[in-house]
């Protein structure tokens, strides 16, 4: 035990607020969403306002009767309307000059599917709030059904593997590219394994949201739905970035740049072997996934290298 090594991790410097949540809340053991949710107000501060929807976060973001699970003001809205509800709040706070960071906090099902229209609309109107989509690649709250963020081949309860079924037959929506094409004021991908990177991006997001639309796409593997051992979840997050499954980048005004450079990406089998949602995939299925990861990465790289 050497005194000199006992230095605080830099991540703590990004926190301006203590944990705003109750100690015991209803998220599964090992769920990174809990980590993400607790981190957001720590960086953004008490004046943030959550806009939540039915989702894995709903049992915690929304209270029960008069009781609450956290100290942040919130609006619990319908799944279709998270971006538009955030619009209503943000416009009124701006108008009345109330210092607030409005955060639409919702899953990939809302962002890529049922709430996609309102998200796209808010981005087009350049509304000043943060839209944070935590991506667990499916509808996990309702029991692991496929969403359009679900990867090809993934076994879900609505794309089961059976005599004929081979998991989800089509590739996921390339959501971050779609959002990049909206040219938001700021957007970024984030991953709880890279906490300093995430915290830095939240800080940027807070500032950028004073001027325009912010989209954050945060990786949030579901230990239950993906069938991951609880203790491996952060490992899975890290591997996702190291295999280019989930590259970490940001874009200010539509100009993308990597925030974590992966010098020699690992094969995606390093990632898929950590969970059982792809365990039925044979070599060809995995090769197809690898091809998609490579394609998407090279498209991103092309944009990073060419949009100046």
């Amino acid at each position: 035990m050497v005194e000199a090594t006992k230095k605080r991790n830099r991540v703590f410097d990004y926190f301006c607020e203590t944990d705003q949540f109750s100690g015991g809340v209803a998220w599964c053991a090992g769920c990174p969403l809990e980590l993400i949710a607790r981190t957001v107000p720590k960086v953004l501060g008490k004046n943030m306002v959550f806009v939540g929807t039915p989702s894995c976060s709903a049992p915690v973001l929304h209270g029960q009767n008069i009781g609450a699970w956290h100290k942040i003001s919130y609006l619990a809205c319908v799944m279709t309307g998270v971006a538009s509800s955030a619009t209503g709040l943000s416009r009124y706070f701006q108008r009345t000059k109330q210092d607030a960071t409005v955060v639409a906090f919702t899953g990939d099902g809302c962002a890529t599917d049922i709430g996609f229209q309102t998200l796209s609309g808010a981005a087009e109107r350049n509304e000043r709030f943060i839209y944070l989509a935590y991506d667990n690649e499916g509808y996990m709250n309702t029991g692991n059904q496929r969403s359009s963020a679900t990867q090809k081949g993934a076994a879900t309860t609505t794309t089961p593997v059976g005599k004929i079924g081979k998991g989800k037959p089509t590739a996921s929506k390339n959501m971050t590219m779609i959002m990049l094409m909206h040219k938001p004021r700021y957007m970024a991908t984030a991953n709880p394994a890279y906490m300093e990177d995430f915290a830095k991006k939240l800080q940027k997001a807070k500032e950028a949201a004073k001027e325009g639309f912010v989209y954050l796409h945060v990786f949030s593997p579901c230990p239950v739905g993906w069938r991951i051992d609880s203790n491996l979840v952060i490992d899975v997050c890290r591997t996702a970035t190291r295999t280019n499954w989930f590259p970490l980048w940001e874009a200010e005004n539509g100009k993308p740049r990597f925030t974590v450079e992966v010098a020699s990406p690992k094969p995606i089998t390093d990632f898929t072997k950590l969970m059982r949602k792809f365990s039925h995939l044979k070599e060809d299925g995995l090769a197809e996934l690898q091809k998609q990861v490579d394609e998407r990465y090279s498209l991103l790289k092309l944009l990073v290298d060419n949009i100046k």
């Binding site: 929304h62 009767n65 619990a76 509800s85 209503g88 416009r91 108008r95 229209q117």
Partner: protein, 397 residues
């Protein structure tokens, strides 16, 4: 008190709605255009563009977003305005339920139009009927002047601390939305003064950054029951409040409409017609003509549809010999029209009398003078003990 005077000009129904909405000074406005409502969205956008309305205007990408924008802004404390019709109304249905559950005082204009299933760009009250159990106050008006006056009253009702309910003001598409009629638009200062007492009420809860309060909490067991019970009692209170505000408005501006219902030549009437919206205007002319013919008929104009003006209707109709109800919509699952069904629910209290149901005016087919005349004749005959048809689809005859 001298009634406050405004400026009289010829104005289209939709433009009236937008003009008066402006006078009520909404802070956040979100409208998605749809025929026959579009001029409301256009005109109010124009006001913001020319600086005559200081409001946040959100050019939403759909009605669902329009309702979500206004309900959220309202939950933060804003006065809001939106307008829609038909497909738009049903496209915002989840948010409509949300708004009433949150008890936010959103005011919405709904320009009545037929609903999906059968494509029809035409007038009809089916849209409003399809949201009758959404927990909103629903008011139906008859002409452009009533659009103007009632819209002001809607804010007074919605934001009343004892009420705190979203209010939907309905008027017939085409018949009123595009009707150019002379309208007296009140002065801004008078509207301000009329609505000013709302500011002196206790503050309703609102989302304040850093305040640790949340709108839309899960209602667990008795919490759910309590919230629903409070909503239900507020709906009940709204009935008297509609009458009170109408009276107050009458004293202030010199025009009033009877509150929950308008009774036209009902006092000495033997038989009654129940109608709503623009058709009630036509019905009044028919009542006049039939009175000249010696038939003692009166009209009850249903202004408040939700909550249903049970007590007022009982008072107005008790002791009459027969009543004919003209519906501009259909009640699937029951053979009578929706308003007729509602009236039948209070039939024991108004006494046993023939209640004749008429379906008319669907899809821009006029509820004409001869149609209503026929209704009066049949109701009159039924009152004298003649056999009658329980339901009549007038255009199908």
């Amino acid at each position: 008190m001298q009634a406050k005077k405004g400026k009289v000009s010829v104005m289209m129904g939709n433009v009236v709605a937008a003009n008066v909405a402006r006078l009520c000074r909404p802070e956040v406005v979100a409208c998605y255009p749809i025929t026959p409502q579009s001029e409301v969205a256009e005109t109010i956008s124009g006001f913001v563009a020319d600086g005559s309305l200081d409001a946040e205007i959100v050019e939403v990408e759909g009605e669902n977003s329009a309702m979500n924008v206004v309900l959220a802004a309202s939950a933060a404390g804003a006065r809001t305005f939106t307008a829609t019709s038909s497909y738009g109304l049903v496209y915002m249905y989840d948010a409509i339920l949300q708004a009433s559950g949150f008890r936010v005082p959103v005011v919405m204009v709904n320009v009545n139009r037929e609903t999906p299933g059968i494509h029809s760009v035409s007038s009809g009250q089916q849209d409003m009927i399809s949201t009758r159990d959404a927990g909103w106050v629903q008011i139906i008006v008859e002409n452009n002047q009533e659009i103007a006056d009632q819209l002001i009253m809607c804010y007074k009702l919605a934001e009343d601390f004892d009420i705190q309910l979203p209010v939907m003001m309905n008027y017939d598409g085409y018949y009123l939305s595009y009707l150019n009629e002379e309208v007296e638009i009140p002065e801004q200062s008078d509207v301000d003064a009329f609505l000013a007492p709302l500011k002196n009420q206790p503050q309703r809860p609102r989302i304040i950054p850093g305040a640790s309060t949340g709108c839309g909490t899960h209602g667990m067991e008795m919490g759910y029951v309590e919230a629903r019970y409070k909503h239900w009692t507020a709906m009940d209170r709204a009935k008297q409040k509609v009458d009170d505000i109408d009276k107050e408005f009458g004293e202030y501006f010199g025009r009033s409409y009877g509150g929950q219902i308008e009774e036209y030549r009902m006092k000495d009437a033997d038989i009654a017609i129940l109608a709503s919206g623009s058709a009630a205007g036509t019905a009044k002319t028919v009542v006049d003509t039939k009175r000249e013919e010696g038939i003692k008929v009166g009209l009850v104009k249903l202004r408040l549809f939700r909550p249903f003006p049970e007590e007022r209707l009982i008072k107005a109709l008790k002791g009459k010999k027969a009543v004919g109800v003209i519906d501009r919509s259909i009640c699937f699952g029951w053979k009578y029209g929706p308003m007729c069904m509602e009236l039948k629910a209070i039939a024991p209290a108004i006494g046993s009398m023939p209640i004749l149901s008429y379906i008319d005016g669907l899809a821009n087919l006029d509820i004409t003078v001869p149609h209503i005349g026929r209704v009066v004749d049949e109701v009159s005959a039924a009152a004298k003990g003649k056999a009658y048809q329980a339901v009549t689809w007038i255009p199908m005859e």
